[in-house]
């Protein structure tokens, strides 16, 4: 399963073989873009991401001890926002990005099961086989489902 942006036919993310969980690699022209595509990929696992409208936005700020943990923090914070604030997002505008810090404006709307569906719950983004590659702008993460 892959996600592509129709206009540019560029692969944003793909899901890999993993026995119990879901492994994902996300791509970008830069690391911030790869992080944004990882978030998009994550929401596409949980809901029908194409049905999400951009009617609300929320700023998300995360900090971590290194860039790999930053990826996990970012994704887990979005999961938290989904579960507690009931928001699903489809676009992520990364405003600030460093190895230790990320600030993004996330665009989406309140979760509506009828419209967005309910595909698969994600328990957490894990630290397992975590990879953030600044040379290729690829990130890899395994979700516990």
């Amino acid at each position: 399963m892959t996600g592509t942006r129709e206009s540019h036919q560029v692969k944003r993310f793909e899901l890999l073989e993993h026995t119990a969980d879901v492994a994902m690699v996300a791509y970008g022209k830069s690391l911030p873009e790869a992080f944004a595509n990882a978030a998009y990929g994550m929401f596409s696992i949980i809901v029908d991401v194409d049905t999400i409208r951009e009617v609300e936005s929320q700023m998300v700020t995360v900090k971590a001890d290194d860039v790999e943990m930053l990826l996990v923090e970012w994704l887990n914070q979005l999961l938290f926002t989904f579960e507690v604030n009931r928001l699903v997002f489809k676009r992520f505008d990364v405003r600030e990005f460093s190895d230790l810090n990320l600030v993004a404006t996330c665009y989406g709307e309140k979760y509506d099961r009828e419209r967005h569906g309910s595909k698969l719950g994600i328990k957490a983004a894990t630290y397992h086989m975590l990879k953030v590659d600044p040379k290729t702008n690829q990130v890899r993460v395994i979700f516990d489902v």
Partner: protein
Amino acid sequence: MIRAQDILEKVDEFRWRVPVSYMSGMRVPGLIYASRQMLEHILEERAVEQVANVACLPGIVNYSLAMPDIHWGYGFPIGGIAATTVENGVVSPGGVGFDINCGVRLLRTNILHDEVAPKVRALVNALYEGIPSGAGSQGRIRLRNGEIDDVLVKGSRWAVEKGFGTPRDLDNTEERGQMAGCDPSKVSHKAKERGVPQLGTLGSGNHFLEVAIVDEVYDVGTAKVLGLDRNGQVVVLIHCGSRGMGHQVADDYIREMLRAVVKYGIQLPDRQLSCAPVTSAEGQDYLAAMRCAANFAWANRQCITHWVREAFCRVLGRCEEDAGLELIYDVSHNIAKVENHAVSGQKRTLCVHRKGATRAFPPGHRDIPQKYSEIGQPVFIPGDMGRYSYVLVGTRRAMEETWGSTCHGAGRMKSRTSARKALTGREVLRHLEATGITVRAGSVSDLAEEAPEAYKDVTQVVAVADESGISRIVARTRPIGVVKG
């Protein structure tokens, strides 16, 4: 291709040792419970590597154990058991898993298949509608400000006091559904925030609720003690965990432990094994928070039990005493327990990690309900969606060899991506309905990933547990109705 005989030492038909020479850093050997047939797949999956990784944990005693349903996890394999000494061993959140106290309970009834058969669809619908499920689902329970702390401390007892079930349910739950030594102040605000809207929800993925019938009884006397009287008897299986609350606790403390390994100078072959000494502040805080999450899961399963009883009452007109929907037992399969065990003839206090493994205490153990004293602790091994589930009891041998533990389920064999390629959700649904199983699922596409073919055959897994002597098979059930998120 790696062959079993190149790496493993055969102990007997069902026990295979991973010698310490397999990998540097191993403090104890590994011991895998599996049939020869299962080994090839276990080796391909590289689960042996994980068994060896766990053997590197400071303070680990005897063996890094693997059950026949073993499969690759993160750091620790799923289907693994590791005990460390409390005095100088470590506790590791990865050895418990993200879904703290994912577990299963079985209810017996006075109802027979014939009676339920014409109403299965209505019953499954009532269960699906009465019990929130699925990713992003919200519960029906409104907690007052701060009440979440009560749930975390009291667990099942909170639920019973609120009218979800009866005090007798507490007698028949591991730890009585309420672990001591919990501390809500060690649980993050985020974890509580996730827990509040999710109390009383089933979740998704491999969590489910199943209406089944007793299909075969292997030990009539023991089955009777459990309240399982005959073939065709309707039972209900509930399989779920601590939801987002537990996942957050796990994440919080895995992160905490990543720092702790640096602080305590612990060398590990895999970051996901991160841990801290059991007696350290970090270790104690994790256990205190984990117990809160465990209690949340028990409260969750207790609330769901009540709604199951309501659905039976509404649809079948069979209520309370008449329905006899009694809880046989509730077991956890992702948890860490501080327990006393004999090690080389001496009593030691150990921190036993069971990740995808079930406690299986023997007859006479004081921690199991009095009425099961003669037979041993009940154990439930849910199969996958279309196939059998099993009821077993714990044995002396388990106590001697596996810290009183056994397997937990079928264990996945196929990845979700390849399961999706093999079958569509609709095909799985059609196949299940064709074999007489009524399914109500929140996500039809997810069904493909949960297809029976994606799992190891639970019958084989359970056979190994029984034939190796670590549990005793009592009965088998087969599903007639399934509710999934």
